[in-house]
């Protein structure tokens, strides 16, 4: 998430706050929300202080050139920065519910931790309470959100009640969904508009289990997918394109076509070069252009089974043109960048671009700006 410089006073505690300004504060103010009022001038700061003394204790001033009205912020661990937990104008919104996980994927971009982190759910709910407008879509991520069990369901219901038009996407490895008790806790009577994003890395148990570094994970994920289908839940399968996965990608796609044709979509995703992916660089760093034929063949197989697919995190210049229509702008706004080489590219506006940390990590393949669009 974004971390930005800002000035604020002593009363600006660890609580989640919505950024606003003096003009709109009156219309948004509510007793159960916390506000950070953007100020520039001394006069404005004084005005906020007056409000505080006249019992508007949930209002604090903040000075920043980069914050926007509607941002949701908390102070960072120092007194000169805030974390932007949510921004209205972003294309992608996500709430991280836990850092704990029951798998240990080779390319995990967010390596799990073991300690109790239940504060993360509280913060997520707080963020939801502070939304100024209902986002079109919001992702619930982890760690593994199903470790929260029935609390995950409460989070979903909380969002659905307050923002009935918001589509919720839960990123899960699906393993705990093999457990009928968990299925009941989370799926029974579920009314919310949810889809489930579930990774699958192999067409045989030992291939998938190797990538997620856990015995028995494949079998649990398969059972989980069948339980989602049983509850008529829409599924996106997610395949991260690291070397051991790419090696058997066409077979994996054929497996999906034959066995899981009920999935709504398959996402083929370039690896995010951070976290464990850096530590396991020799398996995770690939030159995607060298695998273009394999990716195209895999897409062809998905076509045969009429399973829709989408490519994520893959710059257009790395892909054969036949796959461009399936490529999406998938990288979260705050970590999405383009390289200098992209300046002259004619398809930059519809390209996924790169992860911000590609310089410390790697790019999916050597960038070759597209200079003109052939018709």
């Amino acid at each position: 998430m974004r971390r930005v410089r800002a000035r604020f006073g002593h009363g600006f505690d660890r609580r989640v706050r919505r950024v606003t300004n003096l003009t709109t504060l009156a219309s948004e103010w509510a007793p159960d929300l916390n506000f950070a009022v953007l100020v520039k001038l001394e006069r404005e700061r004084t005005e906020v202080s007056h409000l505080q003394t006249s019992r508007l204790e949930n209002v604090q001033w903040i000075e920043s050139d980069v914050l926007q009205v509607g941002d949701i912020v908390v102070p960072a661990n120092n007194s000169s920065e805030v974390l932007v937990l949510h921004r209205d104008s972003d294309r992608h919104h996500a709430l991280q519910l836990t850092n704990r996980c029951n798998s240990l994927c080779l390319m995990c971009s967010q390596p799990p931790t073991r300690q109790n982190d239940s504060w993360m759910v509280d913060e997520a709910l707080d963020i939801v309470r502070h939304f100024r407008t209902s986002p079109r879509c919001i992702g619930l991520t982890g760690g593994e959100p199903f470790l929260l069990r029935k609390t995950l369901r409460s989070v979903i219901d909380f969002i659905a009640t307050r923002h009935p038009d918001t589509h919720i996407e839960v990123l899960t490895n699906g393993r705990l969904l093999a457990d009928t008790h968990v299925v009941q806790q989370v799926l029974q009577g579920l009314q919310a508009n949810v889809s489930w994003l579930v990774p699958l890395y192999g067409h045989a148990d030992f291939l998938h289990d190797y990538v997620v570094q856990t015995h028995g994970a494949f079998d649990e994920t398969i059972a989980g997918l069948l339980n989602l289908q049983l509850h008529c839940q829409p599924i996106q399968l997610r395949i991260v394109l690291i070397e051991p996965v790419l090696r058997s990608l066409p077979d994996l796609c054929a497996f999906i076509g034959r066995n899981l044709p009920f999935v709504r979509e398959v996402a083929l995703m370039a690896c995010e070069p951070t976290g464990f992916a850096i530590a396991n660089r020799e398996t995770c760093q690939v030159d995607l252009r060298q695998y273009a034929k394999i990716i195209a063949q895999s897409a062809r197989i998905l076509n045969r089974y009429a399973v829709p697919y989408v490519l994520m995190n893959t710059p257009l210049c790395v892909l054969p043109r036949s796959l461009w229509p399936a490529a999406s702008q998938s990288i979260s706004d705050w970590k999405n960048v383009y390289s200098d080489a992209c300046t002259q590219c004619t398809v930059k506006a519809r390209c996924s671009g790169l992860f911000a940390w590609h310089e410390a990590g790697w790019v999916p393949a050597e960038l070759r700006p597209v200079l003109e669009i052939e018709t």
Binding site: A178, G202, H203, A204, D205, F206, L207, D209, H215, F218, D219, E220, T221, I222, A223, G224, L226, S248, D251, A254, F255, G257, R258, N259, P261, Q297, R300, N303, R304, Y305, A306
Partner: protein
């Protein structure tokens, strides 16, 4: 044993003419083996390369020596999907309002000439048949009018469609009406009625005019011309896709496979169904003149099919329905529900025929047998409850005679998830169900078809596989 030590799962095999061994697993997935590799799979699968182990386990040839509940459930759901259509209840309801027909085709199984009496359904039975259709739990229903030529009694067709549509206003089923006819009687008024009720027409085209007119004689010798006129009229008012055609392969047809396919292209049809002649009913009397061998049909079929492929490669949209049915069985996870290849049989379970004579039959073939005196396949009278028909001795015998796991020959056949005995066909051929399955024409023909398509798939390039998969997606008109 390590966590991932592979063990062979049960599967059936069969040697193909190219020397390879085909295996089909319990999920309906297939793999080709050499003799040596097959021995490894059974005796020491750990010796197989890891990539092959992965492939064979993803296709349910290899499993683990431990509980794998997820994979086990996946296998069960795959098998259930293959036999799905039967569980939905009867979805194909054929009504035979009359046996009258202006044609006197030599191979015809049932029809009577015009003016014959007693070959038309009573109004009471027609109404009861229309009501009985809704006893089926199936959400999607096809109601097909057969004959004779139903348009000779358009009044009955009209009455039935109106009655069913009126009832459906509250039932909200998805109903598809089909009228099978020569289209000689078709006029503007009928077309407008069909348009209003979204009725599809299914006609017969046996090939070019000379062949068609020879197969389907009428006094004016212009059966072909009048059917083509009917097609044009129907397309003009109902739209191009509203008319499909079926062909019957006669002995005369055997020498003209390419011309027959070209005729379908010329007439703008997108489907052709290369069916062998069923020697039922009246056709049986002319058997000596009509019969040809399976080998003759095979040669005809392959020549005609390669002509269809030729047109496909030219960019002409044309599918061969028999190939679609076989490919659907082999390549798709969703079964198209073709009645003759279901276990238990689709006859009576997914299809019912309400005949002009007031009886309900399990299939078209069964009512044809009745015309030559074998009424043993009647399920009951029109008006009886569906549950009574399903529980009838005849239906229970049909079910028992079509269970692949209990039929010697089928139980060890690799195609037993795709295919099944056809007891009614057996009855027509031998006068009884109790005949070893491998003696039946049905078994020999389908073994050959599956063998042939598997060999073809084994040698196919990507373009051909794309085409095959396209054909394998559920062919609606094949039901």
């Amino acid at each position: 044993m390590s966590y991932y030590t592979p063990v062979a799962l049960p599967f059936n095999t069969r040697r193909l003419s190219d020397g390879s061994i085909l295996g089909v697993s319990k999920s309906g997935d297939h793999a080709f083996f050499s003799d040596e590799e097959l021995a490894w799979v059974h005796c020491s699968p750990t010796r197989l390369p890891l990539e092959r182990q992965a492939e064979l386990s993803s296709r349910f040839f290899l499993g683990r020596d431990r509980q794998a509940p997820g994979s086990q459930r996946l296998l069960l759901s795959r098998r259930a999907a293959k036999r799905q259509t039967i569980e939905d209840g009867p979805s194909l309801h054929a009504i035979v309002p009359t046996l009258q027909c202006a044609h006197s085709c030599r191979y015809c199984q049932v029809s009577r000439t015009l003016g014959g009496h007693g070959h038309t359904m009573s109004i009471r039975n027609l109404d009861m048949a229309c009501d009985a259709i809704f006893q089926s739990p199936s959400r999607a229903l096809t109601v097909e009018f057969q004959g004779g030529d139903p348009l000779i009694r358009f009044d009955l067709v009209q009455r039935a469609i109106e009655r069913i549509s009126a009832r459906n206003a509250s039932e909200n089923r998805h109903i598809r009406f089909v009228v099978a006819s020569t289209l000689h009687q078709l006029d503007d008024e009928m077309c407008r009625f069909f348009k209003e009720h979204t009725v599809f027409l299914s006609t017969s085209i046996d090939g070019p005019a000379v062949l068609h007119n020879k197969n389907r004689p009428i006094p004016t010798r212009d059966a072909y011309e009048r059917t083509v006129e009917g097609i044009a009229l129907a397309r003009k008012i109902l739209g191009h896709e509203a008319v499909s055609a079926l062909m019957t392969t006669t002995r005369e047809s055997l020498n003209h496979p390419e011309e027959i396919v070209d005729e379908y292209v010329r007439l703008g049809f997108r489907d052709i169904f290369l069916r062998p002649l069923s020697i039922y009913g009246f056709a049986k009397r002319n058997e000596r003149h009509l019969r040809y061998t399976l080998e003759q049909f095979q040669e005809f079929y392959l020549r005609a099919l390669s002509r269809v492929m030729y047109w496909s490669q030219q960019g002409v949209e044309l599918r061969e329905i028999y190939a679609c049915i076989i490919l659907n069985k082999i390549m798709s996870s969703f079964d198209g529900g073709y009645v003759d290849l279901q276990s238990p049989t689709g006859a009576g379970l997914s299809a019912l025929v309400y005949n002009y004579d007031g009886y309900v039959y399990p299939s078209d073939e069964a009512r044809m047998l009745a015309e030559v005196g074998d009424t043993s396949l009647r399920l009951g009278c029109i008006g009886e409850q569906l549950v009574t028909l399903t529980n009838s001795q005849v239906q229970q015998d049909l079910i028992r005679a079509s269970l692949v796991d209990h039929t010697p020959g089928c139980d060890k056949c690799p195609y037993n998830l795709f295919c099944a005995p056809n007891p009614i066909d057996t009855q027509a051929q031998f006068g009884t169900f109790s005949v070893p399955v491998d003696k039946t024409e049905h078994c020999r023909r389908h073994l050959w078809l599956f063998d042939h398509f598997f060999s073809w798939i084994r040698a196919a390039d990507d373009d051909l596989l794309d085409l095959f998969h396209g054909w394998a997606s559920i062919p609606e008109s094949a039901k």
